[in-house]
Subunit: 235 residues, 2 copies
DNA sequence: ATAAGCTATATATATGATAAAAAAACAAAC
DNA sequence: GTTTGTTTTTTTATCATATATATAGCTTAT
């Protein structure tokens, strides 16, 4: 069995194989994929499984199919970039400094506002999770915990504390992106441990209920990372 | 033929019927849907069509299915809220002032930053589209164009001008949400025509390349709408 | 009591046949 | 010669049925 797809059923295997291939540009946008029958041939699976995979990719905005016209790759503007699968394919397939920059430009919008909401709402239970994540970061500095996991946990708990389902839904999105892009950012500079105090600033502002300070501390944290990438791109 | 679903094939009809029903809470979260076979019975369609619909809803994060366990509704945190279909079902099915507030809290993060990026990038071709939308808004004030369409076009063109694929991808999302929620916001106060000058402020700052002014003008525009909702909720 | 094995039942997969849709080729009318 | 209407053809869409596989719950051996 294909180790990459272990644990998945045939349909899901094909979804991931095709999804990654499409995003990587193996099939021309607007142009056609192999026909249903040819896909069965190529991948040696039944029409049911093939059709179900195509339908799932259609649901994610990557494909469209019509009789006589075949299966076509949709234009990029139709791709559900916020679908964790699609995002993962995009990041793994075409990760560049420029894409990383664009991702950070989005976080620069999201996280400061989420922090501000967290400060405003004062949901103590959700805020305590931020505190725990911060402790994990400190422990990671001392080599007692995983730095990446602690960092992710911190940012996830902020999104949760916003108490807004739209921000909360972005957890999967940011989680996926952080995991994929971390090797990139870490390679550039000693990012992982240097910014504990910057993270603490965000937490402190949230605990105090200082909306404006939370927004600004979080913005500071994000824009530093963004500047790092921009500098790297200028080289 | 069911007029609501005209023009769609059977699979897509079932996707929308089930999607709307799930989001509205017709089926218990975590609990089960009718079995595959029962769904065929109920909707009088074949297993292929039924399975393909279930797979599409699975791709959107609403369902999960396993042998012997059946088809289950996923918890809300797994729903791809940024999928235009899901968003439409959520907004149409459960639109409340609170949900509208949460949506505006997200726009408050996105649009100011998109405006800032637009000002920074100075992509003249994309910026000219904002100008056209603004002209349409003015025309709409004089009854010569559709107010809602012009307003949507304005906000879409700003997202495009950000020149960032993640922001651009939010076009579908914000487009859907604006269309559904407009009857709500219009009902509250004379929102539609009053804010031409506020929109123009955003455009002017972008044209001048004044990043900070663009952010702040856009933020002002969004937060006014948010305050309106909050006041309404306090009544 | 616990773990290995069995059973029942749901989805997963395979395959054949038919329907419907739409592009392309063709024919007719003007 | 261009337009308009019709037929052809190809592809997906749908249906029906058979088989495989996975798993929750039960059974049984130890």
């Amino acid at each position: 069995m294909d180790k990459v797809h272990a644990g998945r059923n045939l349909t899901q295997q094909l979804v991931h194989t095709l999804g990654a291939a499409i995003v990587q540009g193996d099939y021309p946008i607007g142009g056609g994929l192999p026909s249903e029958a040819e896909l069965c041939e190529e991948h040696q699976i039944s029409r049911s499984a093939t059709r179900e995979a195509v339908k799932m990719l259609t649901a994610k905005g990557l494909l469209a199919s019509r009789p006589r016209q075949g299966i076509r790759v949709q234009s990029k503007t139709n791709w559900n970039m916020f679908d964790p699968d699609v995002l993962e394919w995009v990041l793994k397939g075409t990760l560049t400094l420029n894409l990383l920059k664009e991702f950070l430009q989005l976080r620069l919008a999201i996280e400061p506002e989420a922090s501000a909401l967290a400060a405003e709402n004062q949901n103590l239970e959700l805020i305590s999770r931020i505190s725990l994540a911060l402790k994990r970061m400190k422990a990671a500095d001392a080599g007692l915990d995983d730095s990446l996991e602690a960092d992710i946990e911190f940012h996830m708990s902020i999104l949760m504390a916003s108490d807004n389902p739209f921000y909360q839904q972005l957890r999967n999105f940011i989680d996926t992106a952080l995991r994929v892009s971390i090797r990139f950012t870490n390679r550039i500079k000693g990012v992982q441990t240097a910014d504990y105090s910057a993270h603490k600033d965000v937490y402190d502002a949230i605990v105090l209920g200082d909306t404006e300070a939370a927004r600004s501390a979080s913005r500071h944290l994000q824009s530093e990372a963004l500047e790092l990438i921009k500098n790297e791109m200028d080289k």
